[in-house]
């Protein structure tokens, strides 16, 4: 098969989602955000709901998400994405609304909004990128930062007695009656990406069927914040982040998964 055959449309096995534009992503090379952005848009495109979807971009690395997207978007104040999403959804219950938030946004300054939005069972989808650090502001300690992990505001490592333990928001929200589907995924390997995409699709299906709140955590790397190469960051994530934040479904069809 020569090149001209390979590039024929009928031989195309994969292409960029039409719901993202050609602007350069603002994320660091090797960061999981780009893949997560893509998966969300692919799912929305494949479900054919792009024209009925509104995204909410928070403060943090994902603040510019609307720059790369062809979807309608609202940029929310730090931590308030799910409140903004609530407002959108309540006045447009037949549209699809999702928030895309980092751990600083969702698990620190926005903890109240996150818990109460989940508790009310708003029929929205929350995509939660957890890389255990504040990426945008330059690698400060997040509520999700692991014990002992060095950041610019915990330069000697997170001291549990002084700074508290990492918060597992996904587990917390899974305990609330309002959540219908809660899962934790990653995007650092091809198989993880495939599973994450399935989970995101399930989350939007839950919203489509008006079953309640769907919550997808994606444990991700922050190679620049962690001061590691992308490959090393992914290895470190597997060895350190995933034991504390184990992958898999926490709640399916409104029922907690007990392992």
């Amino acid at each position: 098969m020569n090149v001209n055959d390979i590039i024929k449309p009928e031989n195309l096995v994969y292409s960029k989602t039409s719901l993202m534009n050609d602007r350069e992503l603002s994320y660091c090379p090797g960061c999981g955000h780009g893949t997560a952005n893509r998966l969300v848009h692919e799912v929305i495109e494949e479900m054919g709901i792009g024209g009925e979807t509104i995204g909410v971009a928070p403060v943090g690395c994902a603040v510019m998400l609307y720059e790369f997207s062809n979807l309608d978007f609202v940029q929310a104040a730090h931590g308030r994405a799910t409140a903004v999403a609530t407002g959108l959804k309540r006045v447009m219950p037949d549209k699809f609304v999702f928030s895309y938030q980092g751990d600083g946004d969702l698990a620190a300054i926005g903890t109240g909004e996150t818990l109460h939005t989940c508790n009310r069972g708003e029929n929205i989808t929350i995509i939660f990128i957890n890389n255990g650090i504040y990426g945008m502001t330059g690698g400060q300690m997040a509520p999700t930062t692991l014990v002992g992990m060095k950041t610019s505001t915990s330069p000697y490592g997170r001291d549990e007695k002084w700074m508290g333990s990492p918060i597992d928001m996904t587990k917390l929200v899974s305990m609330l009656p309002g959540t219908y589907y809660v899962t934790r995924q990653a995007v650092h390997t091809p198989s993880a990406v495939r599973k994450a995409k399935k989970a995101i699709q399930k989350a939007f299906e839950v919203q489509k069927n008006k079953l309640g709140l769907s919550f997808v955590e994606i444990v991700s790397n922050c190679n620049s914040g962690w001061k590691m190469s992308p490959v090393k960051a992914n290895q470190w994530m597997e060895e350190n982040m995933l034991p504390y934040y184990p992958l898999g479904d926490l709640k399916v069809d409104g029922k907690l998964i007990t392992k």
Binding site: F73, A83, G87, R90
Partner: protein, 356 residues
């Protein structure tokens, strides 16, 4: 066919919100305005008009729910009282920065801090000078009766959409809690129109972004200039006020809201003694009726600004009268939750202008 009822200010404004075709209300309980949400919940507006009413987990969440619903192009409002409004200011700044319309009711109480639950007018600076971060204003209406609580509601929505701006109805505990006769306007239909800027899914068009962010300072400056142009338009077109007994007046009182009602009584006392006093009641606090005050000042022997604060609006009265420096401008007000009496205002008036 209009309907006459005896209602609290807080109830009247809630009923007026439903009748004005409000699409959604998001709020959080705080004294002295909790009747607003209580009334709405009891009325089941989702059955009457389809209006959504949701109790949020905080003032902060409520104003951000307002932000989301406003981004969808809906007529949306929240209500609170002073400490709660302080919490909402971040969200209000975002709403102003994103050119979104909404209505915010402040039934003000005494401060600072937790202050008191009694009425005050000490949130004037916060309401008219911006309040949150950045160069922005709200358009501010100041009702002085239960009737105006109702009538300002559709006006507030119209102005909010005309200028794509947050509009504050700055009331106080007196007006919110007072029961008066109110003539209610007929039910207006909820709008089915989707504004050209609203986000609601981009089917059949290019996507829309609602944001207050621009990392390019030159572009951000342009957006700021556009905001300022909008505020200039408001100054030129939206000044509202009431003149009371000003035609023959030698002295002027300037007062809004509850203080204006009380000042009218003290003006009666003055006129019984043969002292001709008039009242200028700003109905819009931003834009402030500076031009009419400047004009009136020319024929006055003295001006007394009356407000339940340590002296906030008086600064705008002073600014308005800077062409007539020979006319003394004084302030009187009880505050911290104390409501001044007509007698106290009259005494202060006599003392300030050496008429006693």
């Amino acid at each position: 066919m209009s309907e006459i009822r005896l209602m609290k200010g807080n109830e009247a404004i809630a009923e007026a919100a439903i009748r004005a075709g409000c699409d959604a209300y998001f709020g959080y309980p705080i004294t002295p305005q909790s009747e607003v949400m209580e009334y709405l919940m009891a009325e089941r507006p989702e059955k009457r008009t389809g209006m959504i009413v949701l109790q949020a987990e905080s003032e902060v969440a409520a104003i951000n729910m307002v932000f989301g619903a406003a981004a969808a192009g809906k007529r949306v409002m929240t209500s609170s009282s002073s400490p709660g409004i302080s919490l909402k200011l971040e969200g209000i700044s975002y709403i102003a920065g994103a050119d979104l319309p909404c209505v915010i009711l402040n039934v003000a109480r005494g401060g600072p801090g937790l202050g008191t639950i009694q009425p005050a007018q000490s949130d004037y600076f916060q309401a008219v000078k911006g309040g949150g971060h950045g160069d922005y204003h709200m358009l501010v209406l100041a009702p002085a009766s239960v009737q105006e609580m109702a009538d300002h509601m559709p006006l507030a929505f119209d102005l909010a959409f005309k200028y794509r701006t947050p509009v504050m109805i700055l009331s106080d505990g007196v007006i919110g809690q007072t029961m008066e006769k109110v003539k209610l306007f007929d039910q207006m239909p909820r709008s089915t129109e989707v504004p050209q800027w609203a986000v609601c899914g981009n089917a059949g068009r290019k996507n829309r972004i609602i944001t207050s962010l621009d990392l390019d300072p030159v572009k951000k400056e342009q957006q700021n200039l556009a905001l300022q142009a909008k505020y200039q338009q408001m100054r030129e077109n939206e000044v509202r006020y009431e003149k009371y007994l000003c035609d023959d007046a030698d002295y002027l009182m300037v007062a809004y809201g509850a203080s204006a009602r009380i000042a009218k009584k003290s003006i009666e006392y003055a006129r019984e003694k043969g002292i001709k006093v008039g009242l200028l009641r700003p109905i819009t606090l931003f834009p402030f009726p500076s031009a009419v005050i400047a004009e009136l000042a020319k024929k006055m022997k003295g001006i007394l600004s009356v407000e339940m604060s340590a002296g906030q609006m008086v600064e705008d009265v002073l600014l308005a009268t800077r062409q007539t420096p020979q006319v003394p401008v004084k302030h009187f007000g009880r505050y911290g939750g104390v409501v001044h009496s007509p007698e106290e205002i009259f005494e202060a008036f006599l003392k300030h202008f050496n008429l006693g």
